[in-house]
């Protein structure tokens, strides 16, 4: 749903195995009855969550896969079409363009965002006067939704009443009245800046918690050895925050790849369809062209792309760990 959903990592070590097979053979009937009643109570407690997940996650998930093999009209009977939807998606040049655009947007926004969040984390980690307020201000945009944030930046960057073009004109950086949303490059630049403004605080905070858990002795030892700031950063801080850093990378890449709100509110996919992301393409197929079976195939492809990103991330981390 939002960044928050992705934040919760599973913890298999803590998942306790259900006792059953290993139960002592002397289990008496009273005991097993108690266990059965415990089992019933457990399910009764889990029921509200389980029903929600079954109805609004498992069911639509299965239905998406099912629909992707059908021509699914809004009214009337669905007709099976085999793999036609998939071949259609993969052979549509517009889909290729959307993937290409989303990948480049993701790369630009993620690289810039992660570098900036690392810089900010290093900047505001140590105590100084006003640190709490500074951190809160850097983080505040994270709590604003992408849609209002997109409209906010639209109101700041539009050619007529926007404060940013006005400021650029006053500083002599651009002629007055330039419409930033008329050119694909400047349009993308505005969206990237807005995305970074809105997301970098979260990454910063995750990195700070990682940095705070590095024992100070390590830094003291480095200082005694005469390590310079750069060496300390690349040889101590970065290797010791690999976990939060890779979490931040995964988080940033996946949320950026699924971008929709900011493009819908700021660019409407324009100019000339140059900023249509994968999710925007999905939205158009499902709710503008009303081609639901086809859109379901797009959705399955999106799920697969995200799975590949996650697997690649795990492999990268394994590879890093394998090195001595």
């Amino acid at each position: 749903m939002s960044h928050t959903a992705v934040l919760s990592p599973p913890d298999p070590a803590a998942t306790r195995a259900t006792p059953g097979g290993s139960a002592p053979s002397v289990a008496r009937s009273g005991r097993s009855r108690r266990r059965r009643s415990e089992g019933l109570q457990g399910w009764a407690l889990a029921a509200p969550a389980a029903i929600l997940i079954a109805l609004f996650f498992v069911l639509p998930f299965g239905l998406t896969i099912w629909m992707s093999f059908f021509d699914w009209p809004t009214f009337g009977m669905p007709a099976p079409v085999g793999l036609d939807n998939y071949t259609g998606v993969l052979s549509d040049p517009k889909f290729g363009e959307a993937v290409l655009f989303t990948v480049s947007y993701t790369v630009v926004a993620s690289v810039l965002g992660i570098l900036l969040s690392l810089g900010l984390a290093l900047l505001v980690r140590p105590k100084f006067a006003g640190r709490t307020a500074v951190r809160a201000l850097l983080f505040a945009p994270v709590t604003i939704g992408f849609a209002p944030a997109g409209l906010l930046w639209l109101s700041m960057a539009n050619a007529r009443t926007g404060v940013l073009p006005d400021l650029f004109a006053k500083l002599g950086l651009a002629p007055g009245g330039t419409d930033w949303f008329a050119e694909p490059t400047t349009t993308l630049a505005v969206v990237v800046v807005m995305t970074i403004w809105k997301t970098v605080g979260l990454a910063m905070l995750v990195l700070i918690t990682g940095m705070d858990s590095i024992p100070p002795e390590v830094y003291e030892a480095a200082k005694l050895d005469g390590a310079r700031a750069w060496t300390t950063l690349t040889r101590i801080t970065l290797p010791l925050i690999v976990k939060p850093l890779s979490l931040v990378i995964l988080l940033t890449v996946t949320t950026t790849f699924l971008a929709f709100d900011q493009f819908y509110t700021m660019t409407k996919g324009g100019p000339d369809g140059s900023t249509v992301t994968v999710v925007y393409y999905l939205y158009n197929a499902a709710f503008v062209a009303l081609n639901r079976g086809y859109a379901a195939a797009v959705a399955v492809v999106v799920v697969l792309i995200m799975a590949i990103i996650s697997i690649a991330q795990v492999q990268l981390q394994r590879g890093r760990k394998a090195k001595p």
Binding site: M1, S2, T4, A5, L7, P9, P10, T18, G20, G39, Q41, G42, L45, A46, P48, A49, L55, F56, F57, F61, L63, L123, K127, F128, A129, G130, V134, A136, L138, F139, A140, P141, I144, G145, A147, P148, L151, L152, S155, T161, D166, W197, T209, G210, D212, S213, I214, P216, L247, L258, L282, Y283, A286, A295, V300, V302, V303, M306, S310, V314
Partner: protein, 300 residues
């Protein structure tokens, strides 16, 4: 797969916590650091301040080109006319409040109960249940919207704020259940045993004895649910299609595409202000809980 990436290395030992406290003490008196930090913080705050000020400009000043940097007088007129054709700004605020409070209540109740079950009960299929919940994180929810729309038509829940809240609550489950399970697991067994000796059953011990102890976790879950529901855009855009039931983010976009494609920037900024300020204020008040949710989420 992501499962493994996100797994925490080791539970923070008390020793480690003490160390990190010591380290948090290291101070910087470098004036350059402080100046840069304050300048950056001001840059980050600028859009929020600009929009909030813009919300109080008169219509002429809000739509002036080039823009007026500071209004000559503050007025409330923008707040009255976000959408003169449909319901008022207040109507959309009430819709958002309704969706958000339903989401918060449903999420909190479902996650507290399920978290308690996972932490304190043994039942068949418990690992499958937890696995599916966490597995939800692997499926991006925009990908499910096509079929969610169909499902909502089956259930007669399109255009329903309650239906929207059910969806929002569902997609909060991975974080919320994980958070609550951990909170309940950190309650010492002795406390529950003592409560049982005092005549409580495992079930009645929940509201009387244990719930107060996991209150911070509950606040964190409620805060994340609030922010998610208040800000969500795509599902609301797809599932709500008659104007009076729009939530704030959808109403804003609608106002932006007003008649003749003209935008009343003052009204838009008033709407943005009403949408963003509750989140910013709530975050500032409940920062501690946000960070603890983040820390729990990143497994530190």
């Amino acid at each position: 797969m992501t499962a493994q990436t996100l797994t925490p290395t080791a539970a923070a030992s008390p020793r480690r916590i003490r160390r990190s406290r010591i380290q948090a003490q290291d101070r910087s008196r470098n004036p350059a650091r402080i100046v840069i930090a304050i300048v950056l913080a001001a840059l980050f705050a600028f859009p929020i301040v600009w929009t909030t000020v813009g919300a109080f400009k008169s219509a002429t000043e809000a739509n002036a080109s080039p823009p007026v940097w500071w209004p000559s007088a503050f007025t409330l007129e923008n707040f009255a006319k976000l959408d003169s054709s449909g319901s008022s700004l207040l109507g959309y605020v009430m819709n958002s409040v309704a969706v958000t409070s339903m989401t918060v209540v449903i999420t909190t109740v479902a996650a507290v109960l399920a978290g308690y079950a996972l932490a304190r009960y043994r039942f068949r299929g418990q690992n499958v249940f937890f696995g599916v919940t966490i597995g939800m994180l692997l499926v991006p929810y925009p990908a499910l919207l096509v079929s969610l729309f169909t499902v909502m038509v089956w259930f007669g829940l399109t255009n329903s704020l309650f239906g929207l809240a059910l969806i929002y609550a569902t997609f909060q489950m991975p974080f919320a259940i994980y958070m609550m399970r951990n909170s309940f697991e950190s309650v010492p067994d002795e406390l529950i045993e003592a409560a049982e000796l005092d005549g409580c059953s495992k079930f009645t011990a929940l509201p009387r004895v244990i719930l107060p102890l996991v209150a911070p976790g509950v606040v964190t879950v409620a805060l994340f649910a609030f922010l998610a529901a208040w800000n969500e855009f795509l599902a609301a855009l797809v599932l709500l299609n008659n104007n009076p039931s729009f939530t704030l983010p959808i109403a804003l976009v609608n106002a932006q595409n007003g008649p003749l494609n003209t935008i009343d920037w003052g009204a838009l900024q008033a709407g943005i202000t009403v949408t963003m300020l509750p989140c910013v204020i709530l975050f500032i008040l409940l920062q501690r809980y946000y960070v603890s949710g983040l820390v729990a989420g990143t497994g530190k």
